[in-house]
Subunit: 332 residues, 2 copies
Amino acid sequence: MQNANRRLVLAARPDGFAGPEHFAEDTVAVRAPAAGEVQLETLYVSIDPAMRVWISENPGYVPRIEIGDVMRAFGIARVASSGDPRFAKGDFVQARVGWQTHPTLAARDIEPLPGDPLDWMGLLGMTGLTAYFGLKDVGRIHPGETVLVSGAAGAVGQVVGQIAHIEACRVVGIAGGPEKCAILTGELGFDAAIDYKAEPDLAAAIARECPGGVDVFYDNVGGPTLDAAIGALKIGGRVVICGRISQTAAAELYGVRNLGLLIGRRARIEGFVVTDFAARFAEGRAWLAAQRDAGRLHQRVHVINGLESAPAGLGMLFKGENQGKLVVKVGE
Amino acid sequence: MQNANRRLVLAARPDGFAGPEHFAEDTVAVRAPAAGEVQLETLYVSIDPAMRVWISENPGYVPRIEIGDVMRAFGIARVASSGDPRFAKGDFVQARVGWQTHPTLAARDIEPLPGDPLDWMGLLGMTGLTAYFGLKDVGRIHPGETVLVSGAAGAVGQVVGQIAHIEACRVVGIAGGPEKCAILTGELGFDAAIDYKAEPDLAAAIARECPGGVDVFYDNVGGPTLDAAIGALKIGGRVVICGRISQTAAAELYGVRNLGLLIGRRARIEGFVVTDFAARFAEGRAWLAAQRDAGRLHQRVHVINGLESAPAGLGMLFKGENQGKLVVKVGE
């Protein structure tokens, strides 16, 4: 049905993991674009850990999604019909398309998208930019330093490790399972990988793989991993808090006990949100694209099919079932 | 006995609080200074929270004190006999004199001490410098910001609050008991004080006294106070970890649960050690002395008498029984 916009709306707020039971599908008529609007055909939507935060009772730094609202999601799309002179039918664009097949959005909220559209879901999109600004601006890495990354086989973690490698750092990744670890030390060029599921003592494993200590810990998971990594920080060490996927849906928050070590280590823990760097996205994308073109930077994209698979995809992230950037293919 | 050096040596490593049972007194002959040495008469020794760390099994960032060693301590002294041309009998100096009445030290480890000697135990000594560099360089305060200080009636906390006030910040102190709180909002010029012993919910009390949130939290205590303060941080907030007196002698470390908030708040937690700023101590002392001379900066000194009272003094700190900088008067 050409004139139908299939949507997934929030049906219930999850307590723990989010999944299909928290969303409902409906179909509404496609809305023709008014002046200044563009009507799109969604090609891919992104599945990101932050989405679990957006549907929580109190997300804190962004407005929450209300029951009945279309799920918010970054994505890429093709223009089907334009009410704005900057966009024409057939243009590829990126936007917060949401979990819907045929959104109609304000043109001011849409960005044109040169090159391979799928690049913009990962390497040149929020994923790559989050890795780039978090590691370079918040973590302030220097050549020769030791960089430890948690969630290393995830979308952001993979890019973080490769950037650190390009910048001549020693890179150690933490991931779950031998298959993910093999990808890290294989095609992605990490110097070592720690399979946290196979290690009875994560602190001991970090000490073994980072014998001189950790200069920068890029954290995507939080909880006990963060505690162990703080214990391994060198003097002057930095912890970049990008995410905390182990805690986002936890019934009870883990208490971090090692903060007192920050004094003697003269160490720093800092959180950030990538959109604060929006004025410098062009700089970040130019660097990422040049390194990709030089063959040094790869993004593994994990594609699942059909808008209806998106809620299950959100569950996959929190169970660590994805390898690389998770996206949902919505249209051709 | 003019030729006797009374000393307090570490007799046993404490598990919890330190006290008289962990030290033993002995008396040895005063050692005449060799070339390059100076023999001193101790006037005051300082009692600092860090001393409890120095006698622990694994202090981390400084060598531990061994059983049988004289307790390490900053202090001020008068030169009794000099083997170095830079010092003469009768000069006032500062040094790591230790808990002993008549130390003989290398001249290179001794600093001359102009002005009122007692100033150097607090405002112009490590206490004032710790407040100055922690608040200005680590905390990077700006006029108009809200500064929250824990351990506010303690040696460093008092100076932190006054510096923040001089720099046109709103200053809220956390201390134990109405008497300490009255000193903060009275003679020390804090805008508000929170008596944590009288507050059933510290987070609610912080929210009440810092209605717009906290820009800089200068933490001397750690534990649940740190957790509550992280919850009150504004976007871009900074936590300066100076000490953690609630945790230093704790049987079990408190787990901080609010670290995930650092992401959305774009906030930072950073530890420091004042000796890293040694190259800039003259700058800090000039600022502190000028503000003192202008009548804007005061140091309450809490004096206890006799070298033998020093171990009990260390216990007083951890029970919060001191008001301001705690020193032991050892000689005239």
